[in-house]
């Protein structure tokens, strides 16, 4: 790993890992809170029934459906947590950008200020050789910054485009240019610099262009 990239993983990486894990645990707590209250309500209904009181039986069905849905939401969250945990396995790897984007959308979706985001399915097979963990961090922080510049109800669309053979462009589009005041985080600039990623402000949002292969990161380790 180049010393700068290595420093970045150590300095920013742990902090990023911690903040993502905090948001995941918050999501899991919400899920448990729903299951706990719904199970409690089932118990309340059972007690009412024992006392000979009648109630709408559809309430029981609603409760069991709600618990089943929350358990599925919990499994989904744990799958994302696992996927995120494995993003540090390989320092440098041929990475499907679509997978990184999909995970970043799900992980940032746990933030209270997240906005509705649609990931365009095109470009599913596009890969880049980079640090998957640093790329995840860059996209996560970029999405977080964009969400904060949007209003409630705004929607964001993410598209992957290939304008030339040596690079890949991620298009973050909504209905207006991004507010630069939300991009004052030096960590984003530092990540973009190491990953040789270039931000461009557009009339409808922002683009992020990445090299197909970041040669500077080649010494980092395995390229799987």
């Amino acid at each position: 790993m180049t010393s700068r990239a290595s420093d970045l993983v150590h300095n920013q990486g742990l902090q990023f890992f911690g903040s993502v894990n905090a948001s995941i645990s918050h999501e899991l707590k919400n899920i448990f809170a729903i299951i706990s209250e719904t199970a409690g309500f089932l118990n309340d209904l059972t007690q009412l029934s024992k006392q000979g009181q009648t109630f709408d039986l559809s309430l029981l069905e609603n409760c069991s459906n709600s618990i089943a849905e929350e358990i599925e939401r919990g499994f989904d969250t744990i799958r994302q947590m696992n996927q995120f945990a494995h993003s540090v396995d390989d320092p440098v790897k041929e990475t499907r950008i679509h997978d990184t984007l999909a995970l970043a959308v799900k992980l940032t979706g746990f933030l209270s200020f997240a906005r509705k985001t649609r990931l365009d399915p095109s470009g599913n097979g596009i890969t880049v050789v980079t640090s998957p963990f640093l790329l995840q961090a860059l996209i996560y922080r970029t999405l977080s910054a964009i969400y904060q510049s949007l209003d409630i109800g705004d929607e964001l669309t993410l598209t992957l485009q290939e304008f030339d053979p040596s690079s890949v462009t991620l298009v973050f589009s909504h209905d207006r240019p991004v507010d630069p005041s939300h991009f004052s985080d030096l960590r984003v600039a530092e990540l973009a610099d190491v990953l040789k990623a270039v931000f461009t402000k557009t009339d409808t949002g922002l683009t992020l262009t990445l090299p197909r292969e970041n040669i500077d990161l080649k010494d980092l380790g395995s390229v799987g």
Partner: protein, 164 residues
């Protein structure tokens, strides 16, 4: 418990399923519940109806729990507000306490504990309101001496600050 004796509770949480389950359970405990899923709606309903206690989630899109606490406390000085939090940091807890939160409970806090805390908050509200009413009554009694009827009315108007 009659309708008028019920504790009027404002419940604010963006997790709709949590809100619905909690609302149903609290109804069985004879609370009068108004559930809303965001801070803006909470402010709007609080302007139209009187609430004794509010239970507010800390992390919500738009107006968050801290902002809602601050807004509600400014316009409803006797409303007691319980903050529900997934992960309250020490800084957030200090901020909520300074803004007048009655208690901060960690989610999931246990239903019995929540009910107990709501009752304590209601008692606290009553106590503050009675003390305030007693002070106002004293003032009103003192006004009755040596004032013209118009003067009494003016003083009463000053005292009537529409406290909720």
């Amino acid at each position: 418990m009659t309708e008028t004796e019920k504790i009027h509770l404002l419940l604010v949480d963006d997790e709709e399923k949590f809100l619905n389950a909690l609302t149903e359970r609290l109804k069985l405990k004879f609370f009068d519940i108004t559930p809303v899923t965001n801070g803006a709606d909470a402010i709007e309903v609080a302007q139209k109806a009187r609430f004794d206690v509010a239970v507010v989630d800390l992390q919500m899109p738009g107006i968050d729990g801290v902002q809602l606490l601050e807004t509600l406390k400014k316009s409803h000085r006797f409303l007691e507000i319980i903050i529900l939090s997934g992960h309250a940091t020490v800084d957030t807890a200090v901020a909520c306490t300074k803004l007048g939160a009655f208690k901060i409970l960690e989610k999931p806090c246990g239903f019995d504990k929540l009910v107990e805390t709501i009752k304590e908050a209601y008692e606290s509200r009553l106590k503050k309101k009675f003390e305030n009413d007693a002070q106002r009554m004293k003032k009103i009694q003192s006004l009755a001496f040596g004032q013209s009827p118009l003067g009494i009315l003016r003083e009463l108007h000053k005292m009537d600050d529409n406290q909720k």
